[in-house]
């Protein structure tokens, strides 16, 4: 049951072979058993979750059923959920009880999904290993001495360890796709503006985008049907027709269901910096796509290398502005001792933020400060356009772009924590899609052996053109019809 797809679970619930209370209890029991070690969740509230499950069962009994009714979902702790502790992984918000629901929380409530709990994350979503969380690191279920990736590391571990049926995440520079790669499941960052950011704690507003983290492409499509859609409370939410993200998923009798699909391989994604063991797995996945009928096209995204410098100007600049709201006055941490107002600000922020968050606020403040604006912020915005333009050119030659989602498999906890620049390079293949605002996903493509002989998951990244999520999901779905990587589970968690 824990390995069932959302569709299968839905069918079981609708046919009353199982109740939502039973299903929710199954996951709560697993969380109780495994979470103390994995640390995927920051807060749990069994009585709230079971009350939602009971309401879902009543709804099912009344015949008022839609996909995801009664399905237990884990929510990244970046989403405000009324009455729930909502920390964003920070000491700053340890005592913050959200007074309202984020848009996506309302959406999940509306379909009768169950909120299992709030998942661990890098502090304010700043990190690629979940090690910046005030609530401690998260263990990768495939190898407990390794990181799950980040920033959505708790949701990632919860999906991989089957401590939820599916989860939500957010992706500012790779925070859904890199952990999906490191933990071996399917994660989608939609086109910027597709999912409302209302009630989602802001990091870098021009890049932040929420998306699903689940076992398969089909599961992600069902999650997208709930999460996506116009919301007037987010000024960047795009007013478009509601889409059915499952519409392109099909079962084909043809041996070549993807006949005619042009897959672009950017040479910059297969050069220096990519682990050879990861490269091999990606090549095998591409070979499988050829068998499915895809045509391979060589492309170039020449400004890929600049995406990291540009990101580490723009994201900290936006963060330094967004995080100025944490001043110890109305909510969040306030220092216990202070002399005057300025001292209260300085101490509350020094104590409430962790080291990486402070670094990024300082970088952001520096690049926006008098005399440096043109050299850093404006320059970065200009190169951002060059990066976006690379994709416009590439999509003239292909339908989707494929490559690795991360340059390596999961690394050991502590390995990169003292070297911010090495950590930042984890997102070399994911950041440029955020800068361009394009959709990207990572799907399980196999396993690579680490130096110490551990078999670890590898993710294949699929990047699509704007609003092409439905096609990307089918491209992933067809691969998942002929491979079983996405059904594999870490040992010892059965």
């Amino acid at each position: 049951m824990i390995n069932s797809s959302l569709k299968q679970l839905g069918n079981m619930l609708h046919a009353k072979k199982i109740s939502s209370v039973e299903l929710t209890q199954t996951f709560l029991d697993r969380i109780q058993q495994y979470n103390p070690n994995i640390n995927a969740y920051i807060s749990l509230d069994e009585s709230k979750a079971l009350a939602q499950a009971k309401a879902a069962d009543a709804r099912i009994a009344a015949g008022n059923v839609v996909p995801l009714t009664g399905i237990p979902i884990a929510q990244k702790d970046i989403f405000c959920a009324k009455g729930w502790q909502t920390t964003c992984g920070s000491k700053m918000l340890t005592n913050f009880i959200a007074p309202y629901d984020a848009h996506i929380i309302t959406q999940f409530d509306t379909v009768g999904a169950v909120n299992l709990g709030k998942t661990n994350m890098d502090e304010f979503a700043m990190g690629s290993s979940n090690e910046t969380s005030y609530f401690g690191g998260v263990k990768n279920p495939w190898s407990l001495d390794r990181v799950p990736g980040g920033s959505s590391g708790g949701s990632a571990a919860a999906v991989a360890a089957r401590l939820c049926a599916a989860a939500t995440g957010t992706d500012t520079g790779g925070s859904i796709r890199q952990p999906a790669s490191l933990c071996g499941f399917t994660g989608l960052k939609p086109t910027y503006g597709t999912v409302s950011r209302y009630g989602m704690i802001a990091f870098a507003s021009s890049l932040d985008q929420a998306g699903p983290m689940a076992k398969s492409a089909e599961d992600c499509a069902l999650m997208m049907n709930v999460m996506a859609g116009f919301d007037e409370r987010d000024s960047t939410s795009l007013n478009r027709e509601k889409e059915d993200y499952t519409r392109d998923l099909y079962s084909s009798n043809s041996a070549k269901p993807l006949q005619g699909l042009k897959v672009g391989l950017p040479k910059e994604y297969f050069s220096e910096g990519l682990d050879a063991s990861v490269g091999k797995v990606i090549e095998a996945a591409i070979a499988e796509y050829k068998k499915l009928g895809a045509e391979i096209v060589d492309i170039s995204l020449p400004n890929t290398g600049l995406s990291i410098p540009v990101y580490y100007v723009l994201a900290p600049a936006e963060a330094s502005s967004n995080l100025s709201r944490y001043d110890g006055v109305r909510y969040g941490h306030r220092a216990a001792e202070y002399t005057d107002l300025m001292d209260m600000y300085n101490k509350s922020r020094a104590e409430g933020f962790g080291a990486e968050v402070k670094r990024r606020i300082l970088i952001g403040t520096y690049v926006l400060s008098a005399g440096y604006y043109d050299a850093y912020y404006l320059k970065a915005q200009q190169i951002r356009r060059l990066i976006a333009q690379d994709f416009v050119e590439a999509f003239k030659k292909c339908d989707v772009i494929m490559g690795p989602a991360a340059p390596s498999t999961a690394f050991k906890a502590g390995e990169k924590v003292d070297d911010p620049v090495a950590m930042y390079l984890q997102d070399i293949y994911t950041i440029s899609t955020n800068l361009a605002g394009l959709p990207g996903m990572s799907i399980p493509a196999g396993f690579a052996l680490s130096d110490d002989g551990v078999s670890l998951p590898v993710g294949l990244q699929i990047i699509g053109n704007y609003f092409d999520e439905a096609r990307m999901l089918n491209v992933a779905h067809q691969y998942q019809q002929v491979t079983d990587w996405h059904t594999r589970m870490p040992a010892g968690l059965e």
Partner: protein, 104 residues
């Protein structure tokens, strides 16, 4: 552009984050590393390129000038921090937030 300890202190002041002497030195090392990464941008000729602030061409939506929000002051004030300086009481009185005196 090489950063100095003085730069760190100035930026920390602008960002309203207290940085001790020993933290400032460690921060200097880390930020210098990040800035040298950022410096790669300077090699690119960006003459005449329009800056891109956002991936979508957006304009602000207008709405009717009517009240759409309900008053949640009491709900919001439940999250008020402890007053501090010896008091663990919430930093609110009569619906107002308490901060140190700023006007003599």
């Amino acid at each position: 552009m090489a950063l100095s300890i003085e730069d760190i202190k100035k930026v920390a002041h602008l960002a309203r984050i207290e940085v001790s002497e020993s933290d400032a030195a460690a921060t200097l090392t880390k930020l210098t590393g990040i800035l040298s990464l950022i410096e790669q941008m300077q090699a690119v000729d960006t003459t005449g390129i329009e800056p891109m602030s956002h991936s979508q061409d957006l304009s602000q939506r207008l709405r009717d000038d009517i009240v759409t929000k309900t008053n949640l002051r009491e709900e919001f004030q439940k999250n008020a921090p402890a007053l501090g300086n010896g008091s663990v009481e919430p930093a609110v009185v009569d619906g107002l937030y308490l901060v140190p005196k700023v006007i003599e």
